[in-house]
């Protein structure tokens, strides 16, 4: 809703020739190095992590890790979990640990200089199961061109019968099947120079990606702890994610109100600010504090969350009919993309030199031809999809 503020009057004023946006050089002003904490402990059985770093002046690209710290987490059930540094600034617990629902955990760390920090206590709240993941047709407007984009919005529905979970954070991992339009069943064999049948599949392939953005949901304003239409992922027809079979694994983290407020402020702070009506920016304070100096600004959050997850599969033919045929980034139906050749020399040239894949290959042995080699080729991206993802079917793949 805050977007209403961002009404792009700037655009109008620029159109009028009365206003413009110019780069403004950011002077690095009285930079104070602050400690940044990113960590999460859940009820999953895995190696949990805490990442420690420092802020860096504007313009510097390299992350500044906080190394050689002593990091541990204490639970109010008396447990103590040690974290060890696996790479600079990245601290991990042992593989076998999982947090217990109902227990409150607190992060502690001491830097090599002896400065001590701790987080507030965060209770691990159980995450109710995700009831369903479903799709709906949606249109969004490009912020750049203003044109309407057609797409599919994936929603999550969940509810908590105990009415305790109120704040949710979502992450997803998606996997989708892509096909090479002209699968290559042959590969080049240098000795002798010929084409031989492939032993492994080059299509279909399974492309995977993970969410990077923070997605939040809350039932705090509702009378019941039920999210029936929580948007988690939007895919337009400009990509081929939904061309075949699409699978999404949604992870649902139940977080504290404090964590929710924190992440929401982070989202606000990093948003596009180009508006005549600016919004209030500021230091986003998390749940970490210095033990010795309470006034010290410590950024970041130690998140404790209960997790539940659910996977769903979607096929193009089941999607809303208003959703158009997705475009592919690798079009193979243009002219001159298929090449027919008939000598082995040129086969090597095409495969090695130009990066083509062999679709068909045969020796002609009729009365018109005498062991003549014929092959059809196309650029690799049309014949082999493994450059996008492995061709081995993931374990969870049900099709």
């Amino acid at each position: 809703m805050r977007h209403v503020k961002n009404i792009s009057l700037v655009g109008i004023l620029i159109a009028l020739g009365l206003s413009c946006v110019e780069p403004f050089s950011i002077r690095s002003i009285s930079f104070d190095k602050a400690v940044v904490v990113e960590g999460r402990l859940t009820n999953e059985q895995k190696a949990h992590y805490v990442k420690l770093s420092y802020t860096r002046p504007i313009g510097e690209e390299e992350n500044v890790p906080l190394t050689d710290a002593t990091v541990w987490v204490e639970g109010d059930d008396g447990s103590k979990i040690e974290f060890t540094e696996s790479e600079p600034g990245y601290y991990q617990s042992s593989e076998g640990f999982s947090g217990a629902v109902g227990t409150s955990y607190q992060l502690f760390f001491t830097t090599s200089e002896g400065r001590q920090y701790q987080s507030s206590r965060q209770e691990l709240l159980a995450s109710p199961p995700i009831d369903s993941i479903y799709d709906a047709y949606a249109e969004k407007i490009s912020t750049k061109t203003g044109e309407v984009k057609k797409g599919i919005q994936f929603f999550v529905a969940t509810h908590d019968e105990t009415n305790t979970a109120q704040y949710y954070k979502y992450a997803w991992e998606e996997t989708y099947e892509v096909h090479a339009p002209f699968p290559s069943y042959f590969e080049f064999s240098p000795d002798p120079d010929t084409a031989v049948a492939r032993t492994e599949d080059v299509s279909p392939c399974y492309v995977s990606a993970k969410s990077t953005a923070i997605t939040l949901g809350t039932t705090a304003a509702l009378t019941e702890s039920r999210l029936s239409k929580m948007p988690v992922r939007y895919i337009t027809s400009e990509t081929d994610h939904l061309l075949n079979v699409y699978s999404i694994l949604v992870k649902q983290y139940v977080i504290s109100a404090e964590a929710y407020g924190f992440y929401r402020e982070i989202l606000e702070n990093n948003q596009d600010n180009s508006s005549l009506f600016d919004k209030q920016l500021g230091v986003v304070v998390g749940n970490i504090a210095s033990v010795d100096n309470p006034e010290e600004t410590v950024l970041g959050f130690f998140e404790v969350a209960g997790v539940s997850e659910r996977r769903a599969f979607f096929k193009f033919e089941d999607l809303d009919k208003r959703f158009p045929w997705p475009e592919t980034q690798y079009p193979c139906n243009g002219p001159n993309q298929l090449v027919a050749i008939s000598t082995l020399d040129s086969l090597e040239y095409y495969v090695k030199g130009k990066g083509y894949g062999i679709i068909t290959a045969e020796y002609c042995n009729t009365k018109h031809c005498d062991n003549e080699f014929n092959a059809t080729l196309a650029p690799n991206y049309c014949t082999d999809c493994r450059f996008r993802g492995p061709s081995t079917k993931p374990d969870f793949w049900i099709y």
């Binding site: 809703m1 977007h3 209403v4 009404i7 792009s8 655009g11 620029i14 159109a15 009365l18 206003s19 413009c20 946006v21 110019e22 780069p23 950011i26 690095s28 002003i29 009285s30 930079f31 940044v36 990113e38 420092y54 802020t55 860096r56 504007i58 690209e61 992350n63 709906a136 047709y137 949606a138 969004k140 407007i141 912020t143 750049k144 061109t145 203003g146 309407v148 109120q166 923070i214 304003a221 504290s256 109100a257 407020g261 929401r264 982070i266 606000e268 702070n269 990093n270 600010n273 180009s274 005549l276 009506f277 600016d278 209030q280 920016l281 500021g282 230091v283 986003v284 006034e295 970041g300």
Partner: protein, 924 residues
Amino acid sequence: MKKLLVIFCLLVFQYAAAQDFPLVTISADSATFSQVVNDLEVQTDYRIFYKNEWVDSLQYDFSVVQKPLEKVLDILIEGTQLNYYIGDGQVFITNKVRILANPRIAGLLENRSSEIQTNVEKGLVFARDYRSENSETSNPESQIFEIGSRQKLVAGGSATVAGYVKEKGSGEPVAGVLVYRKEPLVTATTDEFGFYSITLPVGKNKLIYQLVGMKPTQRNLALFSDGQLNVVMEADVTALREVVIESARGANIENIQMGASNIDVAEIKNVPIVLGERDVMKVATTLAGIKTVGEGAAGFNVRGGKADQNLITLDDAPIYNTAHFLGFFSVFNSEAIDDMQIYKGSIPARYGGRLSSVMDISSRRANRDSISGSGGLSPITSKLTVELPLFKGKAGLMLGGRTTYSNWILKNIDAANFHYNSISFSDLILRHDFDINANNRLTLSGYYSVDKFKMSSDTLFSASDFRYQNIAASFAFWHRFSRNLSSKISVLYSAYQYELSNDGSPINAFLQDFDISEGTAKGELNYSMSDQHAFSGGIEVKKIKTNPGRKLPEGEESLVQRQEVAPEQAVEAAAFIADEYNLTPDLSLYAGVRYSMFINYGPQTINTYLPEAPKNSNTKVDSIAYSKGEKIKRYGGLEPRISARFKINKMSSVKGGYSRTRQYVHTLTNSASLSPTDIWQVSNTYLQPQIADQFSLGYYRNFDNDKIETSLEVYYKEIQNLLDFKVGSDFLLNPHVETAILQGPGKSYGLELSLKKSGRLNGWINYTFSRTFLKLDSEYGEERINEGAYYPTNYDIPHAVNLVANYKLTHRLSFSYNFAFRSGRPITYPQGVYDFHGSLSVHYSDRNSYRIPHYMRMDIGINLEAGHKLGKLAYSSWSFSVYNLLGRDNPYSVFFNVEGKEIKGYKLIVFGVPIPTITYNFKF
């Protein structure tokens, strides 16, 4: 307009007519002037002189039986430019000239006595004795008016002169005229009826009448006893109410109010203004202590006050959003405005409801006698104001409208992406005046303004339509009970609403709205006990309703979820009483007190939170439902308003004041200026009223015969419950908006230096130093800002300089020049970055600890007025101006975006180029 002089004459002559003049019986049936005159000459001993060319087109249909001669003369000159003068057995008809040679006026009021007193004070001059000297002059300033009866003269005593001040031409009562006598100084001002009353020592007196935009005038009196003296004041000549930057000279020394200024529409004329619109509000921002945070910023900040702390009223009805086109124009069409009174220091007790200032705007009173109008054309807007008499001399209608054709301009600008966007606005003012009689008059006025935007590329919507509108209506009835006691009853209505809709794609179509409305009933009494005490008092009751926001799906296909925040309602009531007390000619006191009270009531559901915890959605424990009309929370208290003026000498004075103000309605906004999407929120269980205590002190000195006025004012203000907001707070459609609001103590202080000059080179220059701070401390981190220390608000602008200069080369040609400088406003600045959850995050500094670059601008203007010939139908002027002559890039805001692995800074510049505008204005 000349005939209005006659009305004045009638007022003066009326009485005696019945006694002194012979009675006549006339029956005119399509009779010519000369036929009627012949009849008159036959029936009386009077001879009547006139020129045929003045009267040959006149025809009459009337009949009178046994009426005094004067009545018939009145009928004869009605609706013409003629005047008459009755001398000894002679009647002179004059054209456009008034003869007031014989000071018979005084005698009309009381019986004459021919007996000359011998024991009168030295210097008392009897008009009669000088009759021969000042006869044959039409200038009342050089005449001597006998007031009262010589028989009642008490040597060494005092007597009261009362009367009306009217404007020459329109016959309008002129309010706020300073009437005074020098040495010993005695002052009075006229009320809404133009009525004044002043007590003077008997004998020879000279009264001076002054008001901004009017030619000062004076009257020589021979004062014997109580009597009446009516005065006509002329608008300062050159251009019919549209010229002058000439203040009521001496007024800044005399007035008891400090931190008050008056902007006459006349003053606007000489200020170069952007895009061809002359604007009272823009002129206001060139005064000391009134600032905007940037180019075209909506709203303004008075003495370190927030933009929502200004009470801006049009004919007493508050206007919530005074900005057209996001602040580039004000919503007031200056052609339809008479003047604006600004109080930034000691606010009189009759005003309340906002902390920082009052801007009381009056629309133009309709001309009751002839059709007149004015209009203007500029590249962006066109406007027209028409005044129509409905019932001659009594009732008139004023209608002023303005609209843009900026869409047309937008369409003609060859810019990419453009056809998605459009902006337009318009406003309309309507006013009806009805002067029932000298003691009763009423006014009805209505106001409507609307802004429409169509936008393409905002972050969420396409082809969104956004519109906002102001509606105001007022009804006022004035009644005078006696010379000393008058009353005003008014009923007011104001509303502000906005609507955002998106029909870019049917499934996303929605309508989101907000509105606030208020209705007020008000009664006021003014009682001037003597020239020492002027009492005023009144009560008002206001009902406020808000719809904090709704988002509704539009159309059947829409998948948008309905969201609604329940409406709120409240009552604000106040009573006030005040006395302006002139202890001695040098020392005046104003003491007023206002009691205001506020109650918000159901139906409403109020969230409750854990007592020992910060308010956020996690600490919400329950909610309480209040039934319809049930009281939820009550606030109230006294608001003392005290000020004093001490005159050191003729040229200088010192003033001081203290005032407390309370504000029960607040805007929720994140920006330093006002935005049309801000919502107004009434006080409630959590949102406390804001309270300000202001102490101010000023020194005023005039030079060069009051041509140069200087002042120095200092103030200190303490504010309770000033609002600010949590980082990243969200107000729109937020069902527990109280969790986003923080309140804490604020303080402002400053110094204002100002110099104003009149004459051929006129204008003003001022410097303002002001600071304003806020402290938000709490034991909870999320409610504490900048470690709980005082920090500058985002409208804290320490230094400001304004120069407005106008040079009148000839009567028709003038040049004007503007200069403005302001410190940059505070912003929160990125001081570092860090990686967080896979993307780059910005680490900001403490709130408002840096500033955007300062603001500087220069404008020039040239005004050329067409020849001002009498009898010419329309009177026109051209003005040419260049805004931001140097094309300086003044950043409106500086902002930072995370772009991939980088953070980039941008400045938004509005009007970074010189903007020339040409405007054509006309009057008829």
